[in-house]
Structures are given as C-alpha cells and as structure tokens.
C-alpha cells in the first residue's frame, strides 16, 4: 500500500532528527575531549607522544569514515564485542571528529606567536599554566570558525551511519520514500531539516567571532 507524505511521516522525520542530534552531540563532546588530547600530544615536548598523535591523525584522516564505522560495528562484532549500532556509530564518529578537530586545534595553538610562550615562561609560569591562561584562550578565537565549520560537516556526515541501520534523519527519509514514492517531497523535507540545524550553527559562529573581537578591543 502506498502511503502519502503526511503529518505522521513528518513526525517520524523529526523524531529521527533526534538521533542525528544525539550522534552529533556525542561525537562533538567525546571527539572534542579526544581532540584536545590529540592536539596537545601533537605539539608535546615528548617526541613519542608527538609521533603517535601524528600517525593517529594521518590514519583517521586518510581512511573513509565509513571504514572506521565498519570496523567499529562489524569489526568489533567479529572480534566478539557486539555493540548496539548507535554506540558503534557514536564511537566511529567520535574518532573521526577527534582527528579533524585535533588537527584544527593544533593549528590554532601553533598560530599563537612564540613570543607569548616566551613572555609567559619568563614570568615563571608552568607549562600547564601557560596553556590554561595564555595560549588556549588565544587559540579558541582562532579555532572557532574552522571548528564550527567542521561540526556543520559532522551534522551532515552522521548520515553515513544509516548504513549500519541507525535510523537517523537520512535513513528515515529513505524509509519514508520507500512507502510513499514521493522522493521530491521527502528529500526536500529532509534537506530543510538539515539546513535548519546547520544554518543557525554558522550564524552563531559568526556572532561569537564578532563578540570576541569586541571583547578584545575593550
């Protein structure tokens, strides 16, 4: 039986959007924590830590997210660790986010002038204090636009987890299309929902950037 694209279907899409958001938020938070570690390791004074972080970034960035997803879903299952799809998907996306955010933040930290390190070291601050009070606050401003840019990508890239049967927004659209045969309506609706999530993020980023500028000009 062919169903029409009505209120129920739209509600189903919105409900599935919840999973898209859950995946995005989990991957941002978990990936973000990992990324800070990756970024700091990448510029650590310990050469081993630096090398490990470099290789990690190179591998994750050089492999399709889909492979990371397959590995954490089918791979781990094969190894005896059967994870619910949503967990495997969250892990895969977090790993993906950690490598990209880690690299973005490394760049932001490194773009703080060397003299800021020298001035704070000369005031007898510990390395941890230098990061906490001098370097990271300045990096945040530099890192903000590319970070939000990446998170917008992340929202859209959560769609790939539909492949391990997590019913997020894209998968929900496919399912509805399968029963309604109204691809144009369905996928425009899906696209509009993605846009409704991503556009405000970009806007907020721009506004934050301006606020930082005003604050610094104080």
């Amino acid at each position: 039986m062919i169903r029409s694209f009505g209120v129920d279907e739209i509600l189903f899409l919105l409900q599935s959007t919840g999973w898209t958001l859950v995946l995005t938020i989990t991957a941002s938070l978990l990936g973000g924590i990992l990324a800070l570690g990756v970024a700091l390791a990448r510029i650590s004074t310990h050469s081993v830590a630096r090398e490990i972080a470099r290789v990690y970034i190179a591998i994750v960035q050089g492999v399709p997210v889909l492979m990371v997803l397959f590995l954490s879903f089918y791979g781990l299952a094969h190894a005896g660790l059967e994870l619910p799809p949503i967990i495997a998907a969250s892990i895969a996306l977090s790993i993906y986010a950690s490598a990209y955010l880690g690299d973005i933040w490394r760049g932001a930290i490194e773009s703080v002038p060397r003299q800021q390190w020298e001035a704070s070291a000369s005031l007898a601050l510990t390395r941890r204090q230098q990061y906490r009070y001098v370097i990271l606050p300045q990096s945040v401003k530099i890192a903000l636009p590319p970070t939000v840019g990446f998170l917008v990508q992340l929202v859209k890239n959560t769609s790939i987890v539909s492949i391990v049967s997590v019913v997020e927004l894209t998968r929900a659209g496919q399912l509805i299309n399968n029963v309604t045969f109204q691809p144009f309506k369905v996928f425009v609706a899906v696209a509009v929902i993605y846009l409704a999530i991503c556009y405000p993020m970009s806007r907020a980023s721009r506004r934050l950037e301006e606020r930082f500028r005003v604050y610094r000009g104080g």
């Binding site: 005031l123 009070y133 104080g218």
Partner: protein
Amino acid sequence: MSIVVVDNVRKSFAANEVLKGVSLTVERGQVVALVGRSGSGKSTLLRCLNGLEVIDGGRIEVAGHPMDYHPAKLRALRQDVGIVFQSFNLFPHLSVGENIMLAPGLVKGCARLEARKLAEQVLARIGLLEKIDAYPDSLSGGQQQRVAIARSLAMQPRVMLFDEVTSALDPELTEEVLAVVEQLARDGMTMLLVTHEMTFARRVADMTVFMNQGRIWESGESERIFRQPQTPEFRQFLSSTLK
C-alpha cells in the same frame, strides 16, 4: 658576590657560533648596557640569562641561581629575573591589570585583592594607573611597553633584562619608555639592557659592553669607553651609530 656571573659561555645555532666564550659579572644595583651590531650576540647573551636560550658551554649564575634547565629550577630563577622584550608581548586577551596580576597570582599565590593592589602600585610607578582596565590593543606602543615593564616589576625581580625595548617604537614613544627605565635605574634596580640608544647607554649605564662577532670586544665604565674607545671596531661602531 656578583649578582650575575657569566663565565666562558658558548652558544651555537646550528653551525653558527653566536657566543664564543663570553665572561661578564654584574654587581648588585649596577646598570649594564650591551651594545653592538645586530648578529653580535648581545640579544642571545641576554636571553641566555633567563634560560630562554640553552647554552652549550660555560657557566651562568643569576641572583644566586646556577643555570639549571630543569623546569622547576628554571622557574625559581625566572621568579627573580624579569625580562622585557622588543615586541612587548603583552597577553592580548587580558586587560592591563590582568596581565600584571597573572603571574603574582599563579606563581606566588597572591590573593586577587592583593594582586590587584600590586598591579595598582606598579602601574602608578610607570604612570599608567588609569589604564588598569584597558586592553593592550587600545594602548600606544610606548604604553604597552611600559605595561610590560610593570608586569615584570610585579614579580619583584632582583635583576631586570631589557631586550631592545625601544627598537619597535617611534622616537617620541622611545623617550617615555626610556624615562621609565632610567627611573628604575635610579631606584637601584640591577639591570642589563641590550640597546641601540647610545646616548641613553652612556648616560644611564654604569658599564657598557661592546660585543662583536660573539665576543666581548671592549667593555668598561660607560663614560670612559664612550669618550675613549680602545678598539677600532668600537670606534667605527660608535661613529656609524652617531650618523
């Protein structure tokens, strides 16, 4: 005992030996000017004194701290040795007051109120108390440099290092910074300054050290060696800077 001891110090950057066995002592309350062409090693020598550059040979002792690059030892030395840079290097995300309060709060554990008082005190000393809540990028270069001096003073250092602190400034701004440095000298602060301001060095420094090719080429009481340079290199350097 001398407050700064530099004994046969060597330092290379890759194959380029910048300091070729430099020895120097500075007594408490003494003001020493380091002069010479760029590339003569004077800034490197200054930066070696607070461990920003790691020496390859020789011995350094500052304010009773033998140079030791272990982080905790280095921090102990740096608490007693202030440095002011050519490019000011204020923390742009912090207000003037916060720039000054940061290290006393973190390193010496000053309470916020106490640190604030300290900031007011050092800012009054350099004549910029009214800028305590301003941000660095709203200040002129000269004002920023004076704040950098105040930030250093707030740690109550026993020795102050000045690395070409007026080289990035216009002539009129140079004057206001030099006035602050001169006042510090009169207050009895021990300091070493790398400078291109020869008249200032002659007037304010007790001793002037002329560096050339990584060596101390000529040094002595400022008044005397400016009047009677002993080496042709220093004589030529002086005549080229007076032009």
